[in-house]
């Protein structure tokens, strides 16, 4: 039942579609986004504030999200992020790319399962 540690590189690569995807569900703020990621990954994706906030600011600079300081009733004033149309387009594009990667990986893993996990490197290829 060991915890899967996702490498830093993979976390970084998946960061943009992750945040855009969460914001596509509705506007949100930093702390809530981080909690949502935690929830989605069962606590296995290690995100830091140093990753999240600069990323949000970069998305804002590129126009994928819009930020505004708002005070929702009964809550503190917070900086809320909202996805833009451009951000939705970017999300669609990223999703297409990720689907390609995931599909390809699935193909490989299905093939491996059929041939048995021990023959990870087929002999023909190694020669």
């Amino acid at each position: 039942m060991g915890l899967v540690k996702v490498t830093k590189d993979l976390v970084a690569a998946s960061a943009t579609p992750m945040v855009l995807g969460i914001l596509a569900e509705g506007q949100s703020y930093g702390y809530a986004i981080l909690r949502r990621i935690n929830e989605l990954s069962g606590g296995e994706l290690e995100w830091t504030e140093g990753l999240l906030y600069p990323l949000l600011h970069r998305l804002e600079r590129h126009g994928h999200v819009e930020a505004s300081w708002q005070a929702v009733t009964g809550e503190r004033r917070r900086k809320y992020y909202r996805i833009t149309d451009q951000g939705l387009a970017e999300l669609a594009e990223q999703r297409r790319q990720w689907d390609t990667v995931v599909d390809a990986l699935k193909e490989i893993w299905l093939g491996l399962a059929a041939n048995g996990p021990l023959r990870a490197i087929p002999l023909e290829c190694a020669a």
Binding site: Y29, G30, Y31, A32, L34, T48, E49, G50, L51, Y53, P54, L55, H57, R58, R61, W69, R76, R77, R78, K79
Partner: protein
């Protein structure tokens, strides 16, 4: 929620944490707000599962990771923040700040415009720049400096008494410039033209230090202000030169020669406004860029020391006497001014508590060699004055030489004591700041006493 006591402690801890965050250049107030909100969210959650406010805060901060790492990540996205920008429209980074331009900017623009207009006022009374050059030479510092002093006094909310003193001193300057019947050929015209700006600049200094005029630290700030002001003014002048050149070239290309406009409006008005703008820039940019004057002194102190030592060696080697013409005396005065400037501006940037180092030795070498050269010059010149009698120019040059010599000699002594660890560095700083009134007094004497003393020669 938490007990009020715990809440209070939490607020204090958060305030302290904010201070740490705001010390980071990469993290702006808006980021601090955002991160603080994050921290509060984290704390609330931890408190909800049963931690005390104190514990929750510690855990939340720990989770956020080190500030070093955080600011490094922020710097990757916001690299422009490492290049400090001068924000002209107020604090735009804070969401609380409004959009209106700061009052500072408006007052500065007003003062700069006032200075620019002032120089054209005499023209209304028929005093033209072309024919009455002497009037403008004597008075040019009176057009801009009162505005700069006014701006500074406004910024410091100067007391009525101080404002009265400033007005009185500027009025005194106006009297000194215009009361005496000086001929076109009179040496006193040149002397007043040089010394009145010095006297009035120290009046600006009074506006700068305001009510804290006794404080040595504050006077040192004025010395720093002067150096930075000079650097900014030169930069503005260079920009103005480019503007003028383009204006001339482009208008000439369509057959209009804007000579009168450039020489009688653009340059004089621009220079006067530049005096105020440069002062405002120094005030506004404190902390925007590294002070440049100390950097220049670091660069040039070794070079000047080398030149002075080479000159001394050459004198001894060739046993040539110094050919003391009047120009030579002024040249050596300027040399002492430069050496004093190099000394002052490296003092201004030095940590007073740091132990003596190589650079301090270098400075002592520079000051001592300048003194040695100057003594040689003085020996020559006093002989000359004894032979041929004196003129206003010679007397002024000699007086300046003595004042600078006294300053540098005592500085060298203090520097030596400091190097041998028998004295404090602060003593040197205090000596220099205490000496400022001497320059003021001498400048006023030359402006006020010299013309009648030498019967308006």
């Amino acid at each position: 929620m938490t007990a009020p006591e715990g809440q209070e402690g939490l607020e204090a801890q958060l305030a302290q944490w904010r201070q740490y965050v705001q010390r980071r250049r990469e993290l702006q107030p808006a980021d601090a707000d955002e991160l603080e909100d994050h921290l509060r969210g984290s704390v609330d959650e931890l408190v909800a599962v049963g931690l005390s406010a104190d514990e929750a805060f510690l855990v939340a901060v720990k989770r956020m990771g080190s500030l070093d790492e955080l600011s490094r990540e922020f710097a990757r996205e916001h690299s422009e923040r490492l290049w400090k920008q001068l924000v002209l429209t107020g604090d735009t980074s804070s969401p609380a700040a409004g959009k209106r331009p700061p009052r500072d900017l408006l007052v500065m623009v007003g003062c700069a415009a006032g200075a620019a207009v002032s120089i054209k006022v005499p023209a209304l009374f028929g005093i033209s720049m072309q024919h009455d050059g002497e009037f403008y030479a004597l008075n040019f510092s009176l057009f801009a400096m009162p505005w700069l002093a006014g701006f500074l006094a406004w910024r410091r909310r100067a007391s009525a008494a101080l404002i009265a003193v400033l007005v009185a001193l500027f009025a005194l300057g106006a009297v000194a410039a215009n009361i005496y019947p000086l001929g076109d050929e009179s040496q006193s015209v040149v002397l007043t033209t040089i010394h009145l700006p010095i006297a009035l600049w120290l009046v600006v200094g009074l506006a700068y230090v305001a009510d804290e005029w006794r404080s040595s630290r504050k006077r040192m700030d004025f010395i720093r202000f002067t150096g930075e002001w000079f650097v900014y003014f030169v930069l503005i002048a260079l920009g103005g030169g480019v503007l003028t050149a383009f204006m001339f070239g482009t208008f000439e290309a369509i057959g209009i020669v804007p000579e009168t406009f450039v020489s009688q409006w653009l340059i004089p008005c621009g220079a006067m406004a530049g005096v105020v703008v440069a002062g405002w820039l120094v005030e506004a940019k404190q902390g925007v860029v590294e002070n440049i004057a100390p950097v220049l002194t670091r660069l040039f102190t070794p070079l000047f020391t080398a030149v002075l030592l080479a000159f001394l060696v050459a004198i001894i080697w060739t046993s040539n006497g110094i050919n003391v013409e009047r120009e030579a005396l002024i040249l050596f005065d300027l040399l002492l001014v430069v050496v004093l400037g190099l000394l002052l501006y490296s003092l201004s940037a030095r940590d007073p508590l740091a132990p003596p180092g190589l650079f301090d030795r270098l400075q002592l070498a520079m000051v001592v060699s300048a003194l040695a050269i100057d003594v040689l010059v003085l020996i020559e010149i006093t002989g000359r004055i004894a032979d041929y009698g004196t003129t206003p120019n010679k007397a002024a040059a000699l007086g300046e030489n003595v004042i600078l010599l006294a300053n540098l000699a005592w500085s060298a002594w203090l520097l030596l004591k400091f190097l041998r660890r028998r004295g404090q560095f602060a003593a040197l700083e205090r000596w220099q700041t205490n000496y400022l009134p001497v320059y003021a007094a001498w400048a006023w004497i030359v402006v006020f006493v010299f013309p009648p003393l030498f019967s308006y020669a």
